[in-house]
């Protein structure tokens, strides 16, 4: 029971992480293509400004919870995905530093360098997270002792790459909507227009991925056993369908909510499909890491649950307050503000 509760919480953490950091990774990915001048670039940085660091902690918490609740899985997952994780790490490091360092030297060459690193630090995590999760859904080649029998390139298989493309499109779409919300004038229009243009690609890749998942993974087994669960991928589809008219009608906060629904739906589609496995082994399903064979002791799970039930609502409350406090459109005054990025 405790293991199942923790499995669901684990899913929630990833869903929230993708919904929040998804938009600022998306912002960083679209920045080189959507901005025409320095004012617009700074607007993009400042659109993520008050939020990105708090958003990123959901990743640390998802990882930390994997360690705390399912240490056996954490051990196999992180050592197997070694190279991909280090690439992800370097990208995240560069992105974080780029926010702080970019405006610190008054030189166009300096800013341009950090803009490139910011792009890499936003695009690569989107891609790698998608690749990683698709591979987790598919199963990766590790043995009974948890030893991985592959390389980084093992992960770059077609289904894995499809996952990477899906996540990238999801985050680009999500980030474009956020930019339309936070900016005004031409930049906002360009962002909204990008969300409209990318939507067909997103639909194609999403449908492709949903179908491919039936062949590449065992995810649908749970859904076929309990058809009521289909409400989850249906919620994702609903988000995907409803976002387009919202963007078209320039109801951008509503569009953001539907985009969030889509991302949460996709995440839970995968997580529920995985259950009770956390990391399937493609060498032998019997060697998979599951909630039963990799969980912490009941005492630990109980204590951690208490901690989570106390703190996660508090975190959501104060993060919501921050979003409310900084929900305004970015103006020249915001860019002239002494501490702006």
């Amino acid at each position: 029971m405790l293991e199942t509760i923790w499995f669901m919480l684990w899913g929630v953490l990833w869903a929230v992480y993708f919904t929040l950091d998804g938009f600022d990774l998306g912002l960083g990915t679209i920045m080189p293509f959507i901005t025409r001048n320095e004012v617009e670039r700074r607007t993009v940085y400042n659109a993520a400004g008050p939020f990105w660091d708090g958003n990123e902690v959901w990743l640390l918490t998802a990882g930390g919870v994997t360690f705390a609740a399912f240490p056996g899985t954490y051990a196999v997952m992180f050592s197997s995905l070694y190279s991909a994780l280090f690439l992800l790490l370097f990208a995240i490091i560069l992105r974080g530093v780029s926010f702080e360092f970019r405006s610190k030297v008054d030189s166009a060459a300096w800013r341009s360098l950090w803009d490139k690193l910011h792009f890499l630090g936003s695009f690569l995590p989107a891609l790698l997270l998608g690749v990683a999760f698709a591979n987790i859904f598919q199963g990766i080649p590790f043995d009974q002792a948890g030893v991985y029998h592959g390389t980084l390139f093992t992960l770059l298989n077609p289904y894995g790459l499809a996952g990477g493309v899906l996540f990238t499109l999801l985050f680009v779409h999500h980030g474009a909507i956020w930019l339309a919300i936070k900016s005004s004038g031409e930049l906002s229009e360009r962002a909204r227009s990008l969300a409209i243009k990318i939507w067909p690609a997103l639909v194609i890749v999403a449908v492709l991925f949903l179908v491919w998942t039936a062949f590449a993974t065992q995810l649908y087994a749970n859904y076929l056993k309990s058809p009521l669960l289909f409400v989850v991928p249906l919620a994702a589809v609903a988000g995907l369908v409803l976002v387009r008219p919202a963007v078209g009608a320039n109801r951008m906060w509503r569009a953001f909510a539907y985009s969030a629904l889509l991302i949460v739906g996709v995440t839970f589609f995968g997580v529920i499909g995985l259950f009770p496995a956390l990391l399937p082994s493609s060498l032998n399903p019997g060697w998979s890491m599951t909630i039963m064979n990799s969980a912490s002791s009941p005492l630990t799970l109980k204590i951690m649950l208490t901690v989570a039930l106390i703190f996660v609502p508090i975190v959501i409350a104060y993060q919501a307050w921050v979003y409310k406090t900084f929900s305004h459109k970015i103006t020249q005054a915001d860019l002239d503000y002494e501490e702006a990025y």
Binding site: N46, G49, P50, W52, D53, G54, E56, V57, L60, T61, G63, G64, V65, F67, A68, A69, P71, G72, Y74, A75, V76, M77, F78, S79, Y82, S83, L85, F86, L89, F90, I92, I93, G96, V97, F99, E100, F101, K104, V105, A145, G146, V147, S296, S297, L299, T300, M304, V307, A308, F311, V312, V315, Y318, Q319, V322, T325, F326, Y337, E338, E339
Partner: protein, 433 residues
């Protein structure tokens, strides 16, 4: 050149690099919060300018502290998967609590502080930096309880081939962890205190913004002196704890080879590990080691020869790091004391003192790194003292993977570190707006 050796190097590099930025974050966050609070209380604009100036340096430093911390969370799983599976029940939970209770607060409210000067009331804005300061120091508690558990494992049982939690209260009240916490945090205030004092001294030498930097000097010096005294005094009690639960580490710290009661301390020692003794051992203080370790002259202090060679920590590294740390610790008290004399008239302090304070800035960093070398190298060959050896903890991965990540990580860190120092120096020299 095997996976174990490279993984150890990588973990040491990643942790030591992270720990360049953490102490300044812990200490300076509080000093900036104090400055901003003074502004809110008095309305004196100089304090606001101080909070913004020192806050700018804080942020340049904070950025690297955050990103280098992510490396560590990943690294337990990537390079030390056997360790993670074995102790995750206890160690993993402490890290998860650190993230939920502290990291969220710190990272969320730093954004509020940076962007909210004009959006929040002065009081609320000051609250946000106090939340950042409180949260970062709170996170230190959890990670040090985690490390404390590695040093002095409590509240667990070995079941089903792994360590399982049996007593959470024991884990969170582990005296070793709390001693480490107090020692680390006070050490961090030494770093922050001398950082502020040293940069202020640089400006005072040039007569720039003398009121601004005079006030900053006073705040820095108070922090440096109080912290230097606390870290030294409490360090003694921390040493008692080490002597109690990690006698092999204590023996290595002092290069003490022969078990004896009334164990003396020698002021000048040069260890000779190969010959299980000391090449040089001069200026004896009778019974001093027994007194320092156990607060009793007749206490027996175990010598390194009591343990088989493979269960002794590396002596030379542990010994020299300890001596460097303590030597610097004494110097900090003297230096802070000298600066304290001029706390209310820093502009009139002798040029030699001010110049020395500028060059002094890196020394607390050195002392803190040396302290961690003692803590971690002195714990070897154990990754969890008495329970799991480091060599049994490493991930079953390919050497090429670790070799690549190690080189890439070191290069990236060197580059970012150099940039960080460059930017800190640039903005420190520029002075307030």
């Amino acid at each position: 050149m095997d996976v174990l050796f490279l993984s150890r190097l990588q973990f040491a590099a990643a942790t030591m690099f992270h720990f360049i930025f953490v102490p300044l974050t812990l200490g300076l966050s509080v000093l900036v919060a104090i400055m901003e609070t003074r502004w809110v209380q008095t309305g004196d604009e100089t304090y606001k300018r101080m909070a913004k100036f020192w806050g700018k340096l804080f942020l340049i430093n904070f950025a690297l502290g955050v990103v280098t911390g992510i490396t560590l969370e990943f690294q337990f799983g990537t390079n030390w998967s056997r360790y993670s599976a074995y102790v995750g029940d206890i160690f993993g939970s402490l890290l998860a609590i650190e993230a939920t209770a502290a990291f969220f607060l710190e990272s969320t409210f730093i954004g509020v502080w940076v962007f909210g000067w004009e959006r929040l009331s002065p009081k609320m804005h000051a609250v946000s930096i106090w939340l950042v300061a409180g949260a970062s120091n709170l996170s230190a508690i959890w990670i040090l309880l985690a490390n404390g558990w590695m040093q002095n494992p409590v509240g667990f049982e070995i079941r089903g081939g792994r360590a399982e939690l049996t007593d959470f209260l024991a884990v969170v009240t582990n005296p070793f962890g709390w001693q480490q916490f107090i020692h680390t945090v006070s050490g961090s205030f030494v770093v922050a205190g001398f950082f502020v004092t040293g940069i202020s001294a640089w400006h005072l030498l040039r007569g720039s913004n003398t009121d601004f930097f005079g006030r900053s000097f006073r705040i820095g010096v108070k922090a440096a002196l109080a912290a230097s005294l606390i870290v030294a005094i409490q360090g003694h009690f921390h040493g008692n704890e080490v002597a109690q639960v990690q006698p092999a580490k204590l023996a290595a710290m002092e290069s003490h080879w022969e078990t004896q009661a009334n164990a003396p301390m020698h002021l000048l020692v040069i260890p000779d590990e190969a010959n299980e003794g000391n090449a040089v051992q001069m200026f004896e203080i009778p019974s001093m080691l027994s007194i320092l370790a156990y607060n009793s002259a007749s206490a027996e202090v175990k010598g390194l020869k009591d343990w088989p060679e493979e269960e002794r920590p590396p002596v030379a590294i542990t010994f020299w790091s300890f001596r460097i740390m303590v030597g610097l610790g004494v110097l900090f008290i003297l230096m802070a004391g000298a600066a304290w004399i001029y706390r209310d008239r820093a502009q009139q302090a002798p040029g030699l003192l001010l110049r020395t304070l500028v060059w002094f800035i890196p020394l607390p960093y050195l002392a803190l790194q040396a302290g961690w070398v003692v803590a971690e190298v002195g714990r070897q060959p154990w990754i969890v003292y008495g329970i799991m050896k480091t060599k049994d903890a490493v991930s079953p991965i390919a050497v090429s993977q670790v070799g690549t990540s190690l080189v890439a990580l070191v290069l990236l860190y060197l580059l970012l570190g150099a940039l960080d120092i460059f930017l800190l120096a640039k903005y420190a020299r520029k002075g307030p707006q």
